[in-house]
């Protein structure tokens, strides 16, 4: 018997299919909405409502792990990080003070690498996705015995831990790979409200800054405790106003925490564009000719921009080698 669905039937069929899947994926939907729109269902609805979908998703994940579906996050070593150390250095001083036009947080180079082959992790968002392959290629040519891992993942940051938890991931990798150096480059996904277990904290508020700095501290504290060096790359100027405001805040936090923990901060501002000045796509090259450094979106980089940052990063790492 051949049946053709009427428009009315089709209407409710779509609603039922959509509604059922929304219910069955409620926990994942909540994570998505929080990461994408800074809007969390779980802050309004009881936690029990999300449990069935969470359990079902775990069961499906477990099942798919037996039939060969690649899940990089599941494959990652599931070592439990030790207790997060209390950050010994002083807490961040608040409120932040804006730098005058033309000023920027300079690079910090406190650390020396341990002698011998390095085991390096490159972590971050799409900013790192551009840099890591170039840096790894050049370092591999110079030091074929070094082991380097690129875990960069776009759309990630420190604000939304539900979507991707960088402090936990980096701690796991430090233990699993016995790393000697971690390079971090992230931030454009961070200027957004933060969801804590019991409340939402608006971007830029003192409480947001405290929590953001605490997440940076989790990474730096764990690394320092395990004698792992860290190079944290600062952000350059951004075309989008919210991202530019975010870069001002992030750079201040990254610089302050690196200084407090005695780790390194590599400023990209003088290379690409100062956050305290209006955005510009280009800068003069060595011959005074304009060089286009930024991608069309005003956030990412052209090959020339990537090359400049890669050169600075590789030079920084080379300098940190024991003589």
């Amino acid at each position: 018997m051949k049946v053709s669905f009427s428009v009315r039937q089709l209407g409710w069929m779509l609603w039922v299919v959509g509604g059922l899947n929304a219910l069955l994926w409620l926990d994942a939907l909540d994570n998505y909405l929080e990461a994408r729109f800074e809007w969390s269902l779980s802050s309004y609805w009881p936690g029990d409502w999300f449990e069935p979908s969470r359990r079902m998703a775990n069961a499906v994940k477990h099942l798919t792990s037996h039939i060969g579906r690649h899940d990089p996050e599941a494959e990652r070593v599931q070592t439990q990080p030790g207790p997060t150390p209390k950050p010994a250095p002083p807490a961040m001083s608040l409120p932040l003070q804006a730098l005058p036009a033309g000023a920027f947080w300079p690079s910090l180079a406190f650390q020396q690498l341990t002698p011998g082959p390095q085991r390096i992790l490159f972590a971050g968002d799409s900013m790192m996705q551009g840099i890591a392959p170039l840096a790894i290629r050049e370092l591999s040519l110079k030091h074929p015995e070094w082991q380097m891992t690129d875990l960069s993942k776009q759309s990630t940051g420190l604000t939304s831990r539900k979507y991707f938890d960088w402090p936990r991931t980096i701690q796991q990798e430090i233990q699993a790979q016995n790393l000697t150096l971690v390079v971090v480059f992230l931030g454009p996904n961070d200027p957004r409200d933060m969801y804590l277990p019991d409340r939402r904290v608006s971007f830029g508020k003192p409480e947001w800054l405290e929590n953001y700095a605490a997440r940076v501290d989790e990474i730096l504290g764990f690394a320092v405790q395990n004698q792992v060096r860290v190079i944290w790359l600062g952000l350059p100027a951004m075309r989008d106003e919210p991202l530019q405001r975010g870069a001002v805040v992030s750079n201040h936090v990254f610089y302050d925490r690196a200084q407090a923990f005695g780790t390194d901060y590599l400023s990209t501002e003088p290379l690409i564009g100062l956050v305290s000045l209006p955005f510009k796509k280009s800068m003069p090259d060595d011959h005074g000719r304009p060089l286009n450094l930024r991608g069309e979106d005003g956030t990412h980089f052209t090959p020339a921009g990537l090359h400049k940052i890669k050169q600075a990063l590789v030079a920084h790492i080379e300098k940190a080698q024991p003589q």
Binding site: K2, V3, S4, V7, L10, L20, N21, Y32, P290, N292
Partner: protein, 466 residues
């Protein structure tokens, strides 16, 4: 907003029932369609929507002007130059500036072209080509020239706005005039296409990209020869599943809106030669190139040599259309010279190859050419190809599990391609015999599985870049 995002799914649940309720009020329904197109486009950027609106008004005005001209050739050339200069400015200015600057500097001169801070509107290559079809129609059939609302709808028709298929103005307006739009067409087929397209994109194309292709194209120097080869084959499969999946989804959505879209894929990897491939791959683009570039250049009417030149020019434009990069230029030229080689072989009356040999040779050529399409630079593409025979890591990888998985997947894919029509007939017939409740349950389960086996987050479509 992506067509595979939760927010699009939610908006669809609200939009479609309202849209279908307006079936007896076509003008209002088209207005809703138009507003939804601009709304969707504005989710990328409000300024993009403003640019598209201004561009559409310009195309409408040019169409009106063309329809009033007594002579066709000169006004049409002027109008097309204006129309395409928009695309050139937004998409190719920086490429032209950088290439010119590098060329002049190497000769000891300075380039005075400034670096501009402009952003290319999403889908510009697609709606510019659609605008070309409208202007040509207006010049050749002045009676077919349309009012502003129709032109706005044509250039902002959201199922095709972001990545095609490229609509032809005459075909689109014929559907509007026939009054067949507005109510769903072949619902079972539309739903089958949407689910199949989502599975192709979210499960298979993403798996290929994440595990087989991206890590290798990112770090080719760390891979052995077989892994490089696997990545090349993997990309051939990824791009057809990604773009083919996208096309299935939008074609299904358009059918739910009551519109038929042009065919974009006819199992391209079953092609027996390169010419055959181009009648199966991205058909809406290749037929556009044929009708609006190759034939106006003279097609095959001006002798053998001129025909081959026209082929190469057409393929070069097809390559450049994808993006302002030398990799796309090389990809287009490779295909152009490939077709010329095939024509020379036929001209020399070389012996006809068995069908299986032609098929395998075509697959090999297309797979090699995709390396240039996928690579970040010409150097990266050449390095990867060189790694196939000169490789410090040898040919066989230590762990061949992924290569084996790809091999199994390739065989299954090949079988599915050969039986795609039969499978479609079977699935649609199955859906049609189900009660609405059973069909709802099956669809809900399939979508659950697609999400379960898909990636976290919303993956981008390869052709959104173009």
């Amino acid at each position: 907003m992506s067509f595979v995002s939760p927010e699009f799914a939610l908006l669809s649940l609200l939009f479609f029932p309202v849209y279908w309720q307006l079936v007896n009020r076509p003008q209002l329904q088209r207005t809703v369609m138009l507003l939804s197109g601009y709304g969707l486009y504005a989710t990328w950027s409000l300024s993009f929507a403003a640019v598209l609106w201004a561009y559409s008004v310009g195309i409408w005005a040019l169409g009106g002007w063309l329809s009033r001209q007594k002579k066709e050739r000169l006004p049409m050339t002027l109008a097309l130059m204006l129309c395409v200069s928009f695309l050139v400015f937004f998409k190719y200015y920086e490429f032209i500036r950088a290439s010119l600057s590098a060329g002049l500097v190497s000769l000891g001169f300075q380039s005075s072209l400034p670096i501009l801070d402009v952003v290319t509107p999403v889908g510009v290559s697609f709606f510019t080509f659609q605008a070309v079809t409208y202007l040509v129609m207006a010049a050749r059939q002045p009676s077919q020239v349309r009012g502003l609302p129709d032109v706005l709808l044509f250039l902002c028709f959201w199922p095709t706005l972001f990545a095609g298929p490229i609509l032809r103005a005459d075909k689109f307006f014929a559907q509007l005039d026939a009054g067949t739009t507005g109510r769903p067409l072949d619902v079972s087929l539309a739903l089958y296409w949407i689910v199949l397209g989502a599975a192709q994109k979210l499960i298979f194309a993403t798996w290929l990209g994440d595990t087989i292709v991206d890590p290798v194209f990112k770090y080719p120097e760390q891979q052995g020869g077989l892994t490089l080869l696997a990545a090349m084959v993997g990309y051939s499969l990824q791009i057809v599943l990604d773009f083919g999946g996208y096309t299935l989804i939008v074609t299904g959505l358009a059918r739910l809106l009551g519109y038929e879209l042009p065919v974009n894929f006819r199992q391209p990897y079953l092609a027996r030669n390169l010419q055959d491939f181009w009648t199966r791959w991205h058909v809406s683009l290749s037929s556009f190139i044929r009708d609006y570039i190759y034939i106006p250049l003279g097609g095959n009417r001006l002798g053998f040599t001129r025909t081959q030149c026209n082929v190469v020019v057409g393929m070069l434009i097809s390559g450049l259309w994808h993006g302002p990069s030398w990799t796309f230029v090389v990809w287009g030229l490779l295909h152009g010279f490939g077709v010329v080689a095939l024509n020379l072989y036929k001209q020399a009356r070389g012996p006809a190859l068995p069908a299986w040999a032609g098929h395998k040779l075509t697959l090999l050529f297309v797979t090699l050419a995709w390396v240039f399409f996928r690579a970040d630079s010409l150097t990266a593409a050449l390095d990867l190809l060189q790694g196939l025979w000169t490789n410090a890591h040898g040919f066989w990888p230590a762990d061949s599990a992924q290569v084996t998985q790809l091999g199994v997947f390739t065989v299954i894919f090949g079988v599915m391609c050969r039986h795609a029509v039969r499978l479609q007939r079977w699935a649609v017939a199955g859906l049609q015999t189900m009660s609405p409740w059973t069909a709802t349950g099956v669809l809900a389960l399939l979508i659950y599985l697609v999400i379960a086996w898909g990636p976290s987050g919303v993956p981008g479509f390869i052709y959104y870049r173009f």
